[in-house]
């Protein structure tokens, strides 16, 4: 079925009941049915902590992505979901903590690039920086590519949080 159809990336946000096992249910659905997870974030989002929002970045053919949405939608603890990629403009951000170790010109160059990317220095020694950078996934990827020859030592990324632009809500 999925022969010539093109792959696309989809950012899907799911509002769920914050119950034990909900993450296992979602992740199990992806692994059990052979879907991809490129990124996944989850945290409670309402004042009582009863509802959590899961943001999943996945990829597949149009038919597979529609199937993923239908499968997520029939999980009992799922309230609503939105295919942010398909349903109009949206904003997606992730945050990364990036440790760069080096000295001399490489160290100065890392700091100059960080300023250009508006990455914040949140920890420093004479041998290293830790940068905090928030942005779209491709911005983080670009920054990390530039840091690699300058002593990139370790990365911790949050995965994508996403939301629709304008007044539209999930």
């Amino acid at each position: 079925m999925q022969g010539n159809e093109g792959l696309r990336s989809a950012t899907i946000s799911v509002l769920v009941e914050n119950e034990p096992g909900i993450l296992a249910r979602v992740v199990g659905l992806f692994s059990g049915r052979g879907y991809n997870i490129d990124s996944l974030t989850v945290a409670p989002v309402d004042e009582t902590g009863r509802q959590s929002r899961i943001n999943i970045v996945t990829s597949g053919t149009e038919m597979v992505i529609e199937q993923i949405k239908a499968q997520l939608g029939r999980l009992v603890p799922v309230y609503r979901l939105a295919d942010l990629t398909r349903e109009g403009p949206h904003i997606a951000r992730e945050m990364a903590l990036i440790k760069v170790i080096g000295s001399g010109e490489k160290r100065a160059e890392a700091l100059r690039i960080a300023e250009a990317f508006r990455a914040r220095v949140i920890d420093a020694t004479t041998e290293n920086f830790i940068f905090e950078l928030t942005g779209a996934t491709d911005k983080l990827d670009a920054f990390l590519a530039l840091m690699r020859p300058l002593g990139l030592a370790e990365v911790s990324r949050t995965g994508v949080a996403a939301i629709a632009r304008g007044t539209r809500t999930i």
Binding site: P20, G21, A24, E66, Q67, A70, Y79
Partner: protein, 593 residues
């Protein structure tokens, strides 16, 4: 503040089950569920049926559920009790059968400590159920039980597990009735969108070669859906075919019924699917046993798919008009819209379409040759035909369950079902050992009815211990074994696809089924040849109590027609005479199951 609760968790559990209308539980005791069994001992409203293996408990609950439309209830202990139930749970999941399975669990403070008979039941059953729960606080117990029944029976039905730690069952807990506002997040859609119905009617009115393809969703929707299906098919004059799961939703005796479709479906049903220009699928899920090779499946048809489960639509086959809704509500809307629509269907084209179908019918694809000479070997198809004819003479209500394999397909082909909920078979999972415990569940629900498990000698041995249950409760189930000494379907595939190398498909040292029946306080009969067949069937039907009828059938008979895996609907093997074609099966076909 409400008063301190008076009842134990186990008593609250039983109160909630009573409020859900539960009359019977199929179960097996053990350490973790002793408080529940103690509470059962102290009441009379709910009956407990003691099975002999937890898998049997779930199949019995499935048989009960499928024959009544109610939720089947299972009670098993922790650890092995729960893991033994898993096959039954997946069976119920695949076939959309409403079951609530109560599993014992070690006390909450021991969870995760590898305690005796501890298993991660919610973890193990997460992909085996529609939903599952672990009750960690007494105040959640009643709400969860009521929610579990709602989830099990509504939307696309399915199995739900409630894992019950022993301390929760012993400590006091408050009772709360079902929540009137419904579930906060779980809201299955049952009412179809009028716009989708209108698009469907436009396609169906313009159709020249239409077909209605129905499945288990029509049966799950209820008897009204089956009545509406019959009305719609008769009103439109369209041909109608059914999946294995859907048999009985539309009467087999109606000339518009083409029989079952798919791998062992009829020639006319599969060719009509292949040649159709418009397809209305209702409550069916385009399973690989139905579609054959996907890129050759009904290539010229505009497809309408109605299902209560949005994830069933566009999963395997892209369709033009998806309709999300309950099968009965969809049919009612289709009937109303068909009548309201001024466009006239193309009666002339439909008549020409029927002439084509009648030509395919004339092939008599289910034909077989039975030799009636004294001592001649019994053909399995003939045994089922005679079972059908003789049961019809009795005028009793007949329920059929099956095991899995050739006998199951022959039963689907040769036993005819006129009403929904009278045919219980493991369709999706294909669970050998399903039929006997399912028959027990059906007989518990319908004590006066004739309940027959059409079995194979290999499958029946997978849950033969349930003979003891049948004997204990004096359940007069009739087990009709088509004994060919082989795992027949395995042997058939080995013959057609693996060069006749019959690896491990012959069963040596089969039991003497007559003596086996007697050892379980039942009656046994055996038919060795054609002249003994009718007598054994009549004796089986006349006998009180459970019976095993061991029918020795032709060990080399194959089940035809057959669409080899990976082949298209119009590429059927009709009979042994043409089966050489299977030698040309493609490599992609060979990897399929």
């Amino acid at each position: 503040m409400s008063a301190a609760p008076e009842q134990s968790g186990a008593e609250v559990l039983l109160q909630a089950l009573k409020a859900e209308g539960v009359e019977v539980i199929f179960g097996y005791p053990g350490g973790a569920v002793l408080p529940i069994y103690d509470a059962i001992f102290h009441q009379n409203a709910i009956r407990h049926v003691l099975v002999r293996h937890e898998q049997g408990a779930v199949h019995a609950a499935e048989g009960y559920a499928r024959s009544t439309g109610r939720v089947g209830v299972v009670l098993v202990t922790s650890g092995p009790g729960a893991t033994n139930a898993v096959t039954g749970l997946v069976d119920a999941l695949m076939d959309s059968i409403p079951v609530v399975c109560l599993t014992g669990q070690v006390p909450t403070h021991l969870i995760g400590n590898d305690a005796f008979q501890e298993a991660d039941t919610t973890g193990i059953t997460r992909p085996a159920t529609k939903h599952n729960y672990l009750v960690k606080r007494p105040q959640d117990l009643a709400r969860i039980v009521h929610e579990a029944f709602l989830v099990a029976r509504s939307g696309r039905p399915g199995p739900v597990v409630i894992d019950l730690p022993k301390d929760i069952m012993i400590h006091k807990a408050p009772y709360a009735p079902p929540c009137a506002e419904g579930h906060p997040s779980y809201r299955p859609r049952t009412e179809p969108e009028p716009e989708a119905i209108a698009r469907a009617i436009a396609i169906l009115k313009a159709a020249k070669r239409p077909i209605v393809y129905t499945g288990g969703g029509v049966i799950n929707s209820g008897e009204e859906a089956a009545r509406l299906l019959a009305r719609f098919v008769r009103m439109t004059g369209f041909p109608c075919t059914s999946t294995l799961m859907g048999l009985g939703a539309f009467p087999a005796s109606d000339p518009r019924f083409l029989g079952m479709l798919g791998m062992h479906g009829t020639y006319e049903a599969n060719l009509a699917m292949h040649g159709a220009d418009a397809m209305l699928a209702i409550g069916a899920r385009f399973d690989d046993r139905v579609t054959g090779r996907l890129n050759a499946f009904s290539p010229g048809s505009r497809k309408i798919h109605a299902d209560i489960d949005p994830s069933s639509i566009n999963k395997n086959v892209p369709v033009e008009v998806p309709i999300i809704g309950d099968a009965g509500r969809v049919l009612a809307s289709l009937i109303a819209a068909w009548e309201a629509d001024p466009a006239a269907p193309d009666r002339e084209a439909l008549a020409a379409w029927w002439r084509e179908i009648d030509a395919w019918r004339a092939k008599e694809c289910l034909h077989f040759t039975q030799d009636f000479a004294k001592g001649a070997v019994i053909k399995p198809q003939h045994a089922i035909r005679r079972l059908y004819e003789i049961t019809q003479e009795l005028g009793r209500e007949v329920f059929i369950t099956t095991e899995v394999g050739q006998h199951q397909m022959w039963a689907a082909q040769h036993f005819r079902f006129e009403q929904p909920r009278h045919w219980m078979t493991s369709g999706g999972l294909g669970t050998m050992g399903y039929g006997l415990p399912a028959a027990i569940g059906v007989q518990i629900a319908h004590p006066e009815a004739l309940v027959i498990d059409i079995a194979g000698e290999a499958s029946i041995l997978m849950n033969i211990q349930e003979m003891s249950t049948a004997a204990q409760y004096r359940l007069p189930v009739k087990i009709f074994i088509l004994n060919n000494q082989y795992m027949g379907m395995v042997r058939q595939w080995q013959e057609l696809l693996h060069g006749g190398r019959y690896a491990e498909s012959y069963t040596a040292a089969l039991p003497d089924f007559v003596k086996l029946a007697e050892s379980f306080h039942a009656t046994g009969f055996r038919a060795e040849s054609i002249d003994q067949l009718d007598g054994v069937i009549r004796a089986m039907l006349a006998a009180d109590g459970p019976v095993i009828a061991d029918i020795a059938v032709d060990p080399k008979e194959n089940c035809f027609p057959m669409i080899p895996s990976g082949a298209a609907h119009n590429d059927m093997i009709l009979s042994a005479a043409t089966e050489g074609r299977a030698a040309g099966i493609t490599d992609p076909g060979l990897v399929l199951v």
